[in-house]
């Protein structure tokens, strides 16, 4: 399945376990604010659990996106960038909320999101101050996630909340994955916690 999400629009789709979803920036300064909810409609992407279990303040290749209940939702199997913002949340507009509503979700489901393609720099000062990096996302950048269980994926292409530039379109490509093992030779290195989440998920529901 291939689709182009125009700038400043929202999109959602089910992604079956084992398939990959690739997002590609179709212009500089693209941003793809992304929420993920498990097919059980309750187990959501949990950014704090994802970050603390992998000792990271950004999303990058080799990280497993984890759920509220400690399962793997998706693995970042490839990424042109080593930094996708996950500290700022989705833009405070109605785009994602409207898309959630199509699936029967509401304000209670507005969890932390990943802002793919965007980078917000952290300063090593007393408050860990944040500044948007305006030169991060480039046309053609892409990121690929493998669904580790049946998912609902929600994407908004609104501009990053700290960006002053125009929003950009994003291409989506969902396809069947050939990868079957949690960690493949030549693929990104996974932390032990990530492997544990993947193994548990495969044993239980994938």
């Amino acid at each position: 399945m291939k689709h182009e999400i125009p700038a400043a629009a929202a999109w959602s789709a089910p992604v079956r376990a084992g398939r990959t979803i690739t997002l590609t920036a179709l212009a500089d300064n693209a941003n793809a604010s992304t929420l993920i909810i498990g097919a059980d409609r309750l187990d959501r992407l949990n950014i704090p659990d994802t970050l603390k279990s992998q000792m990271s303040a950004r999303i990058r290749a080799g990280m497993v996106l984890m759920s509220d209940r400690g399962l793997a939702l998706a693995t970042v199997v490839a990424s042109g960038s080593d930094w996708h913002d996950c500290l700022i949340g989705a833009p405070p507009d109605r785009l994602l909320q409207l898309e959630l509503a199509k699936h029967g979700f509401g304000a209670a489901d507005l969890h932390g999101s990943v802002n793919f393609f965007s980078k917000v720099r952290v300063t090593d000062d007393a408050r860990a101050s944040l500044t948007f990096d305006p030169d991060h996302a480039r046309t053609g950048d892409s990121v690929t996630l493998r669904a580790e269980q049946d998912l609902l994926v929600f994407v908004s292409t609104a501009a990053h909340p700290l960006s002053t530039t125009e929003p950009a379109p994003i291409a989506v490509h969902i396809e069947t994955s050939v990868q079957t093992e949690p960690a493949e030779p030549g693929g990104p290195e996974l932390r032990a916690e990530a492997v544990r989440a993947l193994e548990l998920t495969r044993e239980l529901i994938a």
Partner: protein
Amino acid sequence: MSLDTVVEPGDGALLTVPANGRLRIVDLHGNQAVDTLFYDSHDIDNRYSAFDTIRAQRAVYLTTGSRLLSTSGDELAVITDDTCGRHDTVGGACSQESNVIRYGVHTRHQHACRQTFLTYGARAGIGQRQLTHNVNFFMNVPVTSVGDLRFDDGLSAPGRYVELTASRDLLVLISNCPQVNNPCNGWNPTPVQLLGWW
């Protein structure tokens, strides 16, 4: 004074704090994490949003002056006094399931904050779907310029406190963290005191 109570580690509280009420959390023994969620008491879907709060202040750590915002962008409370210096809102709450991922299956049945949240939240209709990313008062989670995050020994000390002023009528859901597998509680969870004026 409207409230003066001690919460043991592993226990929690569900407080009703009216607009303009002041809630003080005292770290009695130092280095204790106090996992806290805020809800508009008239609409629990209008709840604390860690990432909207971080975006608005353009900084990760919370301290005096931090406005705690909701998913609708409403100001729920403001930190009006802080003798600790900074607080976390990126680390989330421990759960039995995330403990398994981080520390192994032997931790599956240790008590965890989200058990406490669900226990106390049920009285107000706060269930799994209403739980969100919380504040960890007194907890030290450095986020660095190279994009790393870790749980460090606390910056707090016995008697240090944080005080919040409610911007509207609130439900405040608290779990005094029982975690023993990382330094968030100095490896030794201890009681905290809650003081309220309204």
